[in-house]
Symmetry: C2
Subunit: 447 residues, 2 copies
C-alpha cells in the first residue's frame, strides 16, 4: 500500500438548518483572489518592454521563460500547414473525437448566432430608421496554456465561436516550455479554424497580441485561460483590447434529490476536483442518507483515480456536502453561490430549473454529466466563475461580435425629435447640441 | 469686443494624399490614457477603507469631498418619493421632453430585447436539449456625475435598458457637492425607473456599490460615466462586479460628400467639442472647397456659442478637417479610427453604410444630427470611445442580462457524447472526466 492509497477525501458536511450555516458556507466559498503585488509589477514591466521593443522583447522572454534557443520570433510561428500536419499525425480515434466535438460546438454556436447575433432594424411612422448592425471583430487572439494544463478542448471552445461569428483572423498563442508542442492542441487549432499560431506564452504573449509586434499582429480581443501572469496581463491590457472574464478556480455545484446513482455524482465531484487543488465541488441534497452514500462512493472510488492527490486536497479544503431542508432551499442556496457548473441530478427537472437564476451552465438530469458539456455537448465550457455568473455569461458568439447603432432620422422625424432634443440640451447647458437639433427644424435650417 | 470673441477654432487641415498623412493622423488621434499613479493609489485606499469600514468610510469621504455636514449615510438616501417630487417640480416642457425621450429610448431597447435578448432552445434527434436561458441581473448601480457634468440624459440612457431588461432594483449614486441636487437628474431617475438613489459620488460610491455597506446595497454591475477617480475605481472592482467600458473623451467623425449645409456640420462638430477640451471632432471629405466652407461656418458660428472657449480649445488641439481622395477612402479611414459617433452626411447612404465596420453609432443623412441621438432618437448614447468600437458595443439591454447554458442530455445522447468525451478527456489526462462520461454508457453505468 502506497501513501497515496491512504488518502481520504472528506468534504465538509454542513446542514442548512444549523444556526451558523450561513457563516460556514461563506467561509467555505471564500477564495483569496488577492493579486500578488510582485506578479503585478513584473507583468507591468513585461508589458511595457514588449510595447517598447516588440519582437526583441518577446524573443528575450521566450528564451528565458520557456528555455527555447530561437533567434527570431518568426521561428516561433506555427503556420496553418503545421496545424494541419499535427491533425493528420494524431491517431484516428482522436481525430474523429475532435471533429465530432467541433461539429457539435459549431452547430450550437451557429444556433446562438441565429438566435441573438443578427442585425435588426425598425422604422417609425415618420420614416425614421433605427436599428443595430452586428459585425464580427476583425482579428482575435486565443491564449492557450501550455505544459500540464494544455487542453485541446479549450482551443475548440475559444476558437469555434470566433469562427462562427465570422472573425476573419484567429491568432493562437501557446507556450511551448523546452520546445514541447502538444500535438492535440495543434490538431484542435486546425479543426477549430485558427488562422495561425505562435509558440509564445505568458504576459509577453498577451502584450504582443494587445500592442502588436513586427511579427505578431495586434488583435482586437484576447480570450482564453492562463496562469496568474496571463490573468494579470489581460487585466492590464483591458481597454486597449477586449478581454473575456478573468477566470478563478473551477467549480461544480450538484443539486440532488437522491434519484441519481451516488457513484455518478461522486465522479462528477471528482471531475471538478481533479482540475486543481483550488477547484470547488459542492453537493446539496435534502437527504442525509444520500449524502452518506455519496461519501461512501468517494471513499471507494478515490483510490482508482490517477489524480487522487489533487482530488483529495480539493475536496478536503474546498468541498462540501450540504444537507438542505428541501430542494427549493437547495435552489435558493445555489442562486446565492452562482456556480460555474450547476448539475440538477433530479427527476423533476421542470420543477427546479425555473428556480435557478444564476449559473454559468445548467446540466439537467442524471445523464448530463458536466464532462459531456466540457467536451462535446455543444455549449461553451468557458464559463463565469467565483459567483460572477450573477452578471456574466458563457463565452459565446456575442463575444466575437460588436454592435453599432444605426439612426437615420427622416426630415419629418427631425421636427419632432429636434424639439425634444432642444429642450433637454438647453436643460444640460449644451447649447451647440441644442442648436444642431434646431438647425434641422424646417423654420430654421433652410435646407 | 471681449477676449472670448477673438477666439479662433482652426482644426488641423490634413490631406490623405500627403506622404506623412498616416503619421499625422496617428499623432492627432493619440490621447494619453496614462493612468495617474497618485490617483490609482488614492482610489485603492478608498476602496479598501469602504470595504473595511462600510458606511462610516462612505460618510467620512462624502463629508470631506462633497462638503456635506450629514451624520449618517441614511441621510444621503434619496427615495422614490423624492425622485417623484423632483419630477413634479420641474417645468412642464422639461417633464414632457423627458417623458417623450424616455418613451422612445424604452421602445428602442424593447426592440433590442425582442431581437437579441430572449432565451432559446434546440433539440437533437436523440432528445438531447441544448439552449441558453437569458435572465436579468438582480440589482445594478448607475453612477451619475454631479456638478457641471450632470446629465439627466445619461440617467435615461443607463437606467432604461436595465429597466427594460427586467432588473428589479436599480440603484443610482450621484455626488451632490455642497448639497446641490440637480432637479433634472432626479426627475430623469423617476422617469427611467430608478428604484432609489444615494447622494454619494467618487470612488467611495463605486466601492459602496461593489462591496455593499449597511445602508447602500451591493449590486451586481455598475455602469455610468465619471471622473478619473470613478474610472479607476470601476477598473479596480471589475470582477467583483460587472462594469461597463471605461469611457475616454467623446468623439465625432463626420463623413461628408458636400451635400449637407456646412453650418449643420460645423454645429455637429461643435456639439462634440463643447463637451470637453479633450473631445475630438474630425471631418472627412473629398472636396477641399467644402472643408473651407465648414471652416468659414466655424469662424462665423463660434462667437455665438456660450461654451466657445472649450470648443475652440478642443478643435485646435484635437480637431481635424481631412481631405480624402474619395468617399470610399474616407470610409476606410473611419474604420481605422473606429469612432464613437459617426455621421454620414451624404445622399448616398446605401452606398457608404455597408463599408462602415467599426463605430459606436452611425448617424445616417443630413437630418440625423448626433444630438438627436444623444437625447431622444432611441438608441443608447453610452458608446465605445477611443477606438474600442473595434471590439465593443453601445450600452444595451444585453449589458443588464446574463446567459446560462442549458444542457439536458438524453439517455440515448449520453451514449454518443460519452464516447467522444471519453476520448478527449483521456487525451487531456483527466481520468475523472472520462469516467464520469463512461459511467453513463449503458454497458457500464447500470442505472
Amino acid at each position: 500500500m502506497t501513501a497515496a492509497d491512504t488518502l481520504l477525501a472528506r468534504p465538509l458536511r454542513l446542514d442548512s438548518a444549523a444556526p451558523d450555516f450561513d457563516a460556514q458556507l461563506t467561509q467555505r466559498l471564500q477564495w483569496s483572489a488577492a493579486t500578488d503585488a510582485a506578479i503585478e509589477a513584473r507583468v507591468a514591466e513585461i508589458l511595457a518592454d514588449v510595447r517598447a521593443r516588440g519582437d526583441a522583447a518577446v524573443l528575450d522572454y521566450t528564451r528565458r521563460f520557456d528555455g527555447l534557443s530561437v533567434t527570431s520570433v518568426a521561428e516561433l510561428a506555427i503556420g496553418a500547414d503545421a496545424l494541419r500536419a499535427a491533425f493528420e499525425a494524431i491517431p484516428a480515434h482522436q481525430r474523429d473525437a475532435l471533429q465530432e466535438a467541433a461539429a457539435r460546438i459549431r452547430r450550437y454556436h451557429q444556433a446562438q448566432l441565429d438566435a441573438c447575433g443578427r442585425s435588426w432594424q425598425m422604422r417609425d411612422a415618420d420614416g425614421t430608421l433605427l436599428g443595430q448592425k452586428v459585425t464580427p471583430l476583425d482579428r482575435v487572439g486565443i491564449y492557450v496554456p501550455g505544459g500540464k494544463a494544455a487542453y485541446p478542448s479549450s482551443v475548440l471552445m475559444n476558437a469555434i465561436p470566433a469562427h462562427v461569428a465570422g472573425v476573419p483572423e484567429i491568432v493562437m498563442v501557446v507556450p511551448t516550455p523546452r520546445g514541447e508542442r502538444n500535438p492535440l492542441v495543434l490538431a484542435a487549432a486546425h479543426v477549430a479554424g485558427v488562422s495561425r499560431a505562435f509558440a509564445v506564452g505568458g504576459a509577453q504573449a498577451v502584450a504582443a497580441l494587445a500592442y502588436g509586434t513586427a511579427t505578431i499582429p495586434r488583435v482586437d480581443k484576447i480570450t482564453g485561460p492562463g496562469n496568474a501572469y496571463v490573468a494579470s496581463a489581460k487585466k492590464h491590457v483591458f481597454g486597449t483590447v477586449g478581454i473575456d472574464m478573468i477566470a478563478g478556480p473551477s467549480e461544480i455545484l450538484v443539486l440532488a434529490d437522491g434519484t441519481t446513482p451516488p457513484d455518478w455524482v461522486a465522479m462528477d465531484l471528482f471531475s471538478q476536483a481533479e482540475h486543481d487543488e483550488l477547484a470547488q465541488s459542492i453537493l446539496l441534497c435534502p437527504d442525509a442518507a444520500y449524502l452518506d452514500a455519496v461519501q461512501a462512493a468517494i471513499d471507494r472510488l478515490l483510490p482508482t483515480m490517477p489524480r487522487r492527490a489533487i482530488i483529495a486536497k480539493s475536496l478536503n479544503d474546498r468541498g462540501a456536502l450540504i444537507r438542505t431542508r428541501d430542494m427549493a432551499e437547495a435552489c435558493a442556496i445555489s442562486n446565492r453561490i452562482a456556480p460555474e457548473h450547476l448539475e440538477v441530478a433530479s427527476r423533476e427537472l421542470r420543477r427546479w430549473e425555473p428556480l435557478l437564476r444564476h449559473a454559468g451552465a445548467i446540466f439537467l438530469g442524471a445523464y448530463t454529466s458536466e464532462s459531456l458539456g466540457d467536451y462535446c455537448a455543444g455549449p461553451n465550457h468557458v464559463l463565469p466563475t467565483s459567483g460572477t455568473a450573477r452578471f456574466s455569461s458563457p463565452l459565446g458568439v456575442y463575444d466575437f461580435q460588436k454592435r453599432s447603432s444605426l439612426i437615420e432620422v427622416s426630415a419629418e422625424g427631425a421636427q419632432t425629435l429636434g424639439r425634444i432634443a432642444s429642450v433637454l440640451a438647453h436643460g444640460e447647458g449644451l447649447t451647440a447640441h441644442a442648436r444642431a437639433a434646431e438647425l434641422r427644424l424646417r423654420a430654421e435650417g433652410g435646407a
